[in-house]
């Protein structure tokens, strides 16, 4: 198990997952917006 530097490792991993999630979020939000536009037109 992780014994030393725990806080650094966890923060690095959580930031990674956060940024990856942010990318997915942006892409999907863009998609939702465009689908909304498509429905209107």
């Amino acid at each position: 198990m992780i014994s030393d530097y725990g806080i650094y490792i966890w923060s690095a991993y959580s930031i990674t997952i956060f940024i990856l999630g942010l990318n997915i979020f942006f892409a999907l939000r863009e998609k939702r917006k465009i689908l909304h536009l498509l429905k209107k037109s």
Partner: protein, 236 residues
């Protein structure tokens, strides 16, 4: 041959149809690699005898730095194709890749500095590798700025292509000059970021994470390209 390619792969419509079934596959591949890499990287791989558990940050830092450079290479290839054959799909690919690349570069910088804190005792060090990644971030930001400044879509595609090509010519020069600069200024010669002769039990999770990041890039870029294709469809 070109007409055939155009009909089956390069036209926007064909791309949209072809990628519909591709997305779930990329997603599965990404999840498998990511979960395996995360799990073994965090819990299975043995601790480094010099850095202890601190080296585990390598499993997010190196893949993101690799992805950042890989994405720039992809953009440069797309830029070449756009300039030479005026293919639309590669231009869309390039414009969608820019922001993703910038995110990965930022991630590499953040994880790098988090790694640096326990290893070097400071958040930031003007080490050759970190500095050249920082410059890569600036280039990405310039790309995004140019992209958002030009309104006409065709001009934008071609102008950013040229900019990307200037970047790819310059990047190796920047990289080597930064390395030279680093030795000149006699900075701390700890190169802990490179892990020489890595044990295979440490290597497999790393490879898995690298492929996970690349697959993630493909996933996002395909989704965003499909968005752009729909957007252009709406506009016309």
């Amino acid at each position: 041959m070109f007409a055939w390619l155009n009909k089956n792969f390069l036209s926007l419509r064909a791309f949209y149809i072809n990628t519909t079934w591709l997305i779930p596959w990329i997603m599965t591949g990404f999840s498998l690699c990511f979960i395996y890499g995360m799990f073994t990287g965090l819990f299975i791989a043995p601790a480094d005898y010099q850095q202890g558990d601190g080296f585990r940050i390598i499993y997010v830092h190196v893949p993101s730095a690799f992805a950042a450079m890989f994405i720039y290479l992809m953009m440069a290839i797309c830029a070449m194709i756009t300039l030479i054959w005026r293919v639309k799909i590669t231009a869309i690919c390039m414009s969608c890749s820019g922001p993703i690349g910038a995110w990965f570069t930022l991630l590499a910088l953040i994880t790098g500095s988090i790694w640096g804190k326990p290893m070097w005792g400071t958040w930031w060090i003007w080490d050759a590798r970190l500095t050249s990644v920082l410059i890569l971030l600036f280039i990405y930001l310039g790309f995004i700025a140019l992209q958002s400044a030009i309104e006409n879509s065709r001009t934008r595609d071609l102008a950013t292509s040229i900019m990307t090509i200037v970047g790819i010519i310059n990047l190796p020069i920047i990289h080597y000059s930064v390395i030279w600069w680093n030795t000149l200024h006699q900075g701390p010669t700890i190169s802990k970021l490179s892990a020489p002769s890595i044990a295979s039990s440490m290597l497999y999770p790393l490879l898995a994470m690298i492929s996970a990041f690349i697959l993630f890039y493909f996933l996002i870029v395909v989704i965003r390209m499909r968005n752009q294709i729909l957007m252009r469809e709406i506009k016309s």
